[in-house]
Every structure is written in structure tokens, then in C-alpha cells.
Symmetry: D3
């Protein structure tokens, strides 16, 4: 049976003239823009320290915003409210929306970082792959499917969303507040996908192997 | 400041059997979602008061977010930083991006509110119309055109943005920090367009007549 | 008749270093093509005089066609039959179709000229904006909505129109003759949008302020 | 070598239970709309007689318009001016544009009728097929290719046409009057394609075998 | 009545300076790639001889693959199994799928070669034209329409195919084995269309006149 | 630092009421079609045995085709020739094309199976992710990038491929035979993607963890 190489073994097996890893440099050259790091506020420094402590690293998106303390703080406040605050949507629901939206927009940074989050929160590595590749191929509850269909339609053709779409969510038991949260999370990743794509933002290489 | 045109006069000229104004209700039923207003923080109450004082009204998007103080505060912080903080992009540049992006996404709320802003900031009513209808038909500087082309490509096909696109901006004298700001404003309206479309957000009717 | 707003007053309010109005030149350089005006027939001269008398100006599209009397006459005959002759569609219905089709095609000339017509015929400035921005956001009767959905589908994907689409119109009370008229008006603006876009046709600047 | 069946032989060879010809009824039920024929003017009756004399039949599009004499007359006047009047574009050029545009819009009526015209005017049956199937596969002069690229871009994405597109035509020796004619013919078929698709207009069956 | 020119007569009528036939060279320069013919196996030589005997010519696609015997043999084996082996789909069904898929992909080679096959197998020249131009305009049985709708959706947006699409086929009496065959034929032409387009493959000119 | 769970540990950590793994059933219900396994030929039985021996499993696509020995044999012959026979393209080149094409078509089966192959052949897990998510974000050689751009354009808009596209490949040193192979591999996966999507084909679950 095919043996799963761990990445060190794979590296050892690589011929001397092999190409460099596609992730080489991703942890050092985070975007294609030359922007000087700002002096961060105590709050932001504490937040970075908390990331190091809880995750083991500072997500590159935060380092990318760190050229301007006000922009970083605004991003962190909105992100944490959307993804972590109480909601009728579970944290996994929100991460599934993040990945399905990012797949529509083919955003490398967000697919890597939030694909890992889906794998971790669900304890199911394959669910993360499905969200990245084609969420329609996943075996989902009707509620989950309605939620993702709304988020992806809102991403691809926002001008076509109408009352019938909202009614479809309500029929699956989603309350108006849940609809807001679906829209807000889908909207947020439509923003982040574009900031990441515009700047060629690179994900921390550690994400790739997480929760496989 | 542009005076709100007399909608009663227009109504008087209308034949007796005319349809109701398409804006009827826009100032009272702001979204299609039933969400109870939250108790706002003193900061947010002060901000609403400042809007009333300076604009004569609270923009409906703020009222829409006011079901949750944290979400409102995060939105306001990010919006004000992006649109009003110092930048290599003028406020008019940023509003032109807002409208060109919103036109790509055919977002009624944002086209109305930010179309008015382009008219006001430029003192040129037609420029606002051009941004709404087809920015490619406007007589723009090469720098403005490059900026809008980047923002609209980033909106329509973010996965196609590459170094050559950033180089195109640099050739027109835009610095890397300006590129970030273009991306961030375009990204922000890709978010707001979707929150507005998902919730059928209605613009304050006063915008329509402003700065014509 | 709507009075042409005072562009001089607007200009006076503008700072000295302001950009030129985006409409500068629109009334003098009507298209991007160099075509010598033809000697017009008495009928066409009379028609231009009638425009001056009733509208206060000759619409630029007519001036654009005036390099060839036969082409101008054919255009005028077809236009006037379609938009003004008796039909089960009201004149406002026909102008709404014109604008919704022109929005799909993002045609600057037609959006400006026929957006003004919707504002004038409806006495409702906001209805004109909605047709330009996203007709799906307007509060329309079911009959109006079916009519515009058909016209826009016919514009975007004409190969997908089938009997079920015609049946949908009949269910809203539209007769077969009305279906022809919807198709003919939608078709006509699909033609005009392309002639205007191909030649960079500029709308008379007076339209912008009409019926606001 | 494979023998070309003539259509009578083919019919004879068909099994008794074969499907009816796909063109059955095309010469009697011309559109999906029930519209009573109008009393035609002497001019229009003479024009129909001239068609019978010169072509051997009245093109179905004319019969379709014959529910209303004014609409028929306007259509005939515009069509004949565009396709037959003096122009820097040859009649074959104009028919090639007609077919390339109709292929983009997948219009059955126009592809059949104008595909036959390309075959007849060129004396080259294969050129007609190429225009129907994919004009990019045809061996064309640079001038022809530029003309068709412009017409098809104008059909698919009219909002993207700009001065650079017109310059591309001028570089191939096309004068501004030729550019108008390309735009007008492309525009006209964008109209006709939609009237035909909206009404399920059926081409005279005789076209299929012409000039093969 | 318009006389059908035979192609010799048409050639005679052509002015001396006329363009060369669009099919000139199609039978000698089969693709845009320079690839040396391989030494073919006895089986493949026998197969080519059988083509000559039964069709009167070797289809150009086979000559195109003949630079490599293994590739040719694999192509022939798959093609013959798909198009000729027993199936719940008739040979005409399979050729209709071939043409509808090739129309979606605008593949000149496959539209010419398989359009001829639809004409021959159906004994109905017009059916071939309809498949090339817009299969939705053809009068088809519900089973045929469901089959083509599935094949064309699978071609244009394969990621959207789901159980509901398969259920739609089953409702028209198609068994699971038939569904496989529809998918396999549609898939095969999605491959062949791309090999042909990538190499500018030219169809044997004899196809054009077959079964008209 | 975040610890990489192995999948057993992750399963152990999953709450009792957790959703079933998204891959549950993928190894037993391979497609959505009910098709009885055929009696396989000795050659095909030997091939399956070789898969078991070398890979440790029979790829599900082969099991899916095993309802018909002739179809299976034809698929295997073409696949092995394309992906394993001598070529100017390395095996990794061919697998990169496979994944980039499958990403354009959002094919779950092929992304999983061939994403694993890219990881294994390159020894670089991240390269596989990049091909799945957005090949444009990968740091590739100019030759690799040209190859993938051609394959993806051929997938998305095959009708637009012309001599200039082939010239672009030749400029990067690709010979005409290489161009054929790029086209053939891209074409093959355009076929396989559609057979897989049409039948909801599920990849062997073992692929997910390979070569991470």
C-alpha cells in the first residue's frame, strides 16, 4: 500500500536538482507590496502575543495589515466579531462559508487558512477538501446546503438575490439574524479574498499540514 | 450642502392615478430582515448624532447595523479609516472606486449613496452618473483609469490579478501603499455590496436629489 | 417641460483647480467618428425642428445619424413606431424596458437619455435610478417584473428563450401582440446600445438634470 | 466514396416510423405568436411580389412582421439600407457580420437565412459553415478578421468597446464610415436575433439547401 | 425561385479574383502541428483501409492521430466503443449529443464531421443544422431534450450537475446505464473538441456536402 | 504550536454526536449510478491486481468503469498512454495539467486523486494545493506557466485558441509534439471531469492523506 510520506522524508527523497518547495518564502515575503511595519499599539502587540501563544504563530494576514495600526485594529475587530461572537451559526458553519466563498473567488490565502480551520473544527479532513474543491459534492444537511448556496450566489451574482432567496433560508429554520450573519461572513470573505489576491498574500506554511 | 429637492412638488405634478414613488418606504423599512435595534454605546449614539448634525440624517446602512453595537462599531471604524483617513488616494478617488465596484455588482444601496458622494466631492453631477453607468465612458486621467480598471478586475475576476496588474498601477505613479488602499476600498465595497444585496438594504431617499 | 439646470451655477461652486465637467464636450463632439453631416430631406429638417420646439434640443443620436439621410429616416421611423405608436404597453413600460436593457449592456448614452424619460413619464425620479442600477430592486407589479425579466433574459442569453418564457408573460395578462412589442423594444435597444457603444456616442448634457 | 443523398432519396430511405423532418411546419407556422395579418400597403404588397419574383419566396421574417404595416415598412427600410445600400463594406462583408453576430447569439432563424446568403455571395459553401460554427477558424484577411472581431466583441461585451478598438479597425484600412456600418450591421442583427428568438421565428425551409 | 448552385457551377460563376475556397487545404494540412506520420500497426492500417472502403476517405482526425500508433489505437478503440457499441442510446442520439456538445464548445472540426453524421443517420438535413445552431430550437421528444440538456449543462458547468439532474433523466425513461452513456459521449466530445481546437484540426471537405 | 492531529487522533477527539466523516461511504458507493460489475477479461483482472500491488488499492474510477470490460479497457489504454508513455512533458507536468484543468471544472474526484499525484511526484505538498486552488498563485517556471495557461484557456474557452497561443508555447521551448500532449492531457481531463461529475464519482479516501 502507498506509504504516506511525512514531509521530511519527502524532502530527503527529493533529487538534488528538485524545484524549491512552492511554499518557500511564504513565511517571510508575505505580500507583493513593500510596506514598512508600523509601531503597533499595546492592544495589537498583546493580540499578536496571544496568537503566538494559542496558535503558535501570527497569521500572515495580520502581519500584512501591520503596516498601519488603525487598519489592523479595524480588521481584527471585525474579524473576531464575525467569526467568534455568539451567533445562530456555529463556528464551523462560518468557516464553511468562508471556504466556499473563497473557492468561488479562487483565493489561495483564504482557502489554505480557512480550509485548515474547517478541518480542525470538524475533525474531518475531507470536509475541508470538499469546501475547497466543490461544496456541492459534500453530503451536507439541507440547512448547511441552503446556507452555502446563498453565500455562493451572493458571491457570484449578488444582484440576483431577492426575497425568494431569503425565504429559502427561513424554510430551513434560519432566523433573520442568521441570514444577516451568513451575509456578513460571505461579505467579509469577499473583501478579504480581494485584499489577499490584490497583494499576492501568502498563507503561513504551517496551515498546509494542520488537521490532515 | 446640496438641498434636498422638494419631493412634495414632484408629487403634486404627478397625475392622480400615478404609482407610488419607488422610494416610498425606503426611509422606514430599511432592510428585508426583522432585527430589533440594540442599545447603542455612548460612542455610537454620539456618532449618530454627528451624522444628523453634519449630513442631516443617519445613513441607512448604519441604522441597518444598529441591531448589534459591536458589529456597528466595527463597521464604522473600518469605513471611516478607509474612506476618510490620510491616503495617497483622494476622497474622490476612493468614492469613484466605491461606485465603479458597486456598478459591477449592481448594488442599489451603494450606487445611490456613493453616487451622491462622487457628485458632491467632484462638484460634477455627470461624473457620478458615469461611475454608475460605465466608468469606461468617462474622460479620466490615466492614473484614475488604471485605478478603476484594477478595482473592477479585482471585483469581477480576483483570481486573475497578478504582478503585471500591480506593475500597471506603479507605472501610473501609484505607490505600494496606494495599491493597498485601492485593494482595501474595492474589497470593502465588495463586502458592503453583498450585505446590502443580501438584506435588500434601501438608501435614504434624500441621496437621490443631492448635488444634481 | 423640465428646465435645463444651471450648469454655470454648479461651475461657480466648484474650486478653481477642479477637473473639467465630465460632460464637457458631450454636446459638441457627439461621437468618436468623423462623419460629415448630410444634406437632410425636408421631412428630416422638419423633424429636427419639431424636436427643438417640443424638447428644446435635438437628441444627439439623431445628430449622429445625420451623416446619411436614409439611415436617419429609417432610424426615426422605427424608433417612433416602437416607442410612440399604440400598443398594449404604455410609453412608460417601453421606456422601462429601454433602460433595463441598456443597464444590462451598460450603455452610457441610452441610460442617460432613457433614464430621463422614465423619470419624466413616471413623475418618479427614483424609478429611473432603479432601472439604471438594478431593476430587481424596484417594487414593481408582477406584470412589470415579468416584462423586464423577459427583456433582460432576451438581452443576456437570447438563445435560452423558449415557450415557457412566453407562457410566463401570458400568465401576467400580456397578449401575444404585447410579447411582440416587448421583444421589439428590447431588440431595438440591443441595437441602439451597440451603435452608441461602438461610436462612443455622448448624450445631450441636458438630460442629466431632467425630472430629478 | 460516400454518396451525397439528395433529399428526396433520403426521404425514400427513411424508415416508415421515422421522425418528421425538423423543418416540418417551418413554412406555415412562422412564429410562436398568434398575430393576425394586417392589410398591407401597396408598397409592401409590391415588395412581397418582388421577393417572390427574385427569390422565389417571401422570407419568413417579413411575413412575421406583416401583422402591422408600419412595423413591416420600418423594418424593410432599415434592412435594405443597411444590407444593400452603397458602403465601404461589400455585401458579403455585411452578411459575414450578420452570421458571426448571429452565431454569438445562437439565433436559428438568422443563422439559416444569412448563412445561405454568405454561401451564395461568396460562391463558397464552406465559408458559410465557418461563419456559423466559429469564424475564428476561417482563413480570413486581416481586414475581415478585424471587422468580425469588432462585431463579435460589440455583441458579447459592448461596454468594453473603446477608442483602441476603433483604432484597430482604422489600422486595417477601415474608414470611420466603415466603422459606422460595421456597428450598424452588428447592431441590427443583435436586434433581429432577439426578435427571432423571442418569437421562435422559423426560417423558410428552402434556405437549408441553397448554395451548398 | 432561387436555384441551388452545385459547387462546380458556383466555382464557374466566381470572378477570377475571388478568394480561395475556405476549405482549400483542409484535406492536406490537417492540423497546425508538424508531426511526422508513424509506422502504423497492421490493425491500424486495416482500419484505415476499412474507412476508405466504407466512407470513401479516412477522417482527418485519424490522420491527425497517426503520428503515434498507440495514441491512434486508443482513440479508435474508445471512439468505436462509445459511438457504435450496443447502448440504450441510438446512434443518432449519440451523434446529436456529439453535435450539441461541440456547438457549446464551438468546435469547427466536430461540428462539420458530426453534423454530417446527424444528417445522414436521421435522413433529415435540417436536424443537423439545428444541432449545430441551437438545439433548443429543435422540435424534440422530451427524452431527447432531457438528454441534450444534461449533456450541454455537463459541458458548460459540470460542477453544477447533481442528483436532481440524474433524476430528470430517469423521469424520461433513461436507465442508469443510459446516463453513463450520455455522460461518456458528452465527455468524449469535450475531449475531442479540445484536441481539435488546440491543433486547428480541419475536417475533410467532403463532409460539407453530405446528406444535404 | 498547533499540533498536527493524525486522523485517528482527530477521530478520537470528535464529540459523540459529531457528523459522519464527509468521506464515509466514498470507498463503497463509488458512483450515483446502479451498474452491475461485468465479468472482466484476464488482462483487466491482472491490471487491477497490479494496482493493488503497486498502489495498495484500485482507483475508484477503474471500479466505476468495470461494469463494461470494453469501456474499462479503452479508458485504461488511453489513460496509461497519456500519463505514463514517453513525452517531452514530465509525469509531473502532466499531473499539474490534470489538476489545473480539474480545478477549472471543479471536479471533486479528479482534484483529490490527481492532487495527491502532484504531491507525490513533486515531493512538495504545497504544489498540489496550489494546483487545486489557483495555479496562478504558484511560483512556476515560464514554461510551466505557459503550459498551464494554454491548458486552462483550452478548458474554459476552447473556441478562442489560435496560432498565437501555439506560438506562445513554442517560445517557451515546447515542441509541436509537446503541444499535442498538453492538448491531449487537458482534453482527457475535460472528459474525465465530466464523467466523474455526471456520476458523482467519489475518490478513494486514502488519497486525502497521501504525501502531505
Amino acid at each position: 500500500m502507498a506509504k504516506k510520506p511525512n514531509s521530511k522524508a519527502a524532502a530527503a527523497a527529493r533529487p538534488a536538482n528538485a524545484r524549491a518547495s512552492a511554499a518557500a518564502g511564504d513565511d517571510t515575503e508575505i505580500t507583493a507590496l513593500s510596506l514598512e511595519p508600523a509601531q503597533l499599539s499595546p492592544e495589537m502587540r498583546a493580540y499578536f502575543a496571544k496568537c503566538e501563544e494559542k496558535l503558535g504563530f501570527v497569521p500572515n494576514v495580520l502581519t500584512a495589515y501591520a503596516f498601519d495600526n488603525a487598519k489592523l485594529a479595524a480588521f481584527v475587530a471585525m474579524y473576531n466579531d464575525l467569526m467568534l461572537a455568539p451567533s445562530g451559526l456555529s463556528k464551523l458553519d462560518r468557516e464553511m462559508i468562508a471556504v466556499a466563498v473563497s473557492a468561488q473567488n479562487r483565493c489561495y490565502y483564504c482557502l489554505v487558512a480557512h480550509g485548515a480551520a474547517v478541518r480542525q473544527l470538524s475533525g474531518d479532513p475531507v470536509l475541508g477538501e470538499l469546501m475547497v474543491m466543490n461544496y456541492r459534492a459534500a453530503r451536507l444537511s439541507k440547512r448547511e446546503r441552503a446556507m452555502l448556496d446563498f453565500a455562493v450566489k451572493l458571491t457570484a451574482e449578488p444582484w440576483l438575490i431577492e426575497e425568494a432567496d431569503r425565504e429559502g433560508l427561513r424554510r430551513e429554520g434560519l432566523a433573520d439574524r442568521d441570514i444577516w450573519d451568513i451575509a456578513a461572513v460571505a461579505g467579509f470573505f469577499n473583501m478579504s479574498n480581494r485584499v489577499a489576491s490584490a497583494t499576492d498574500m501568502r498563507p503561513n506554511s504551517i496551515y498546509h499540514g494542520q488537521a490532515r
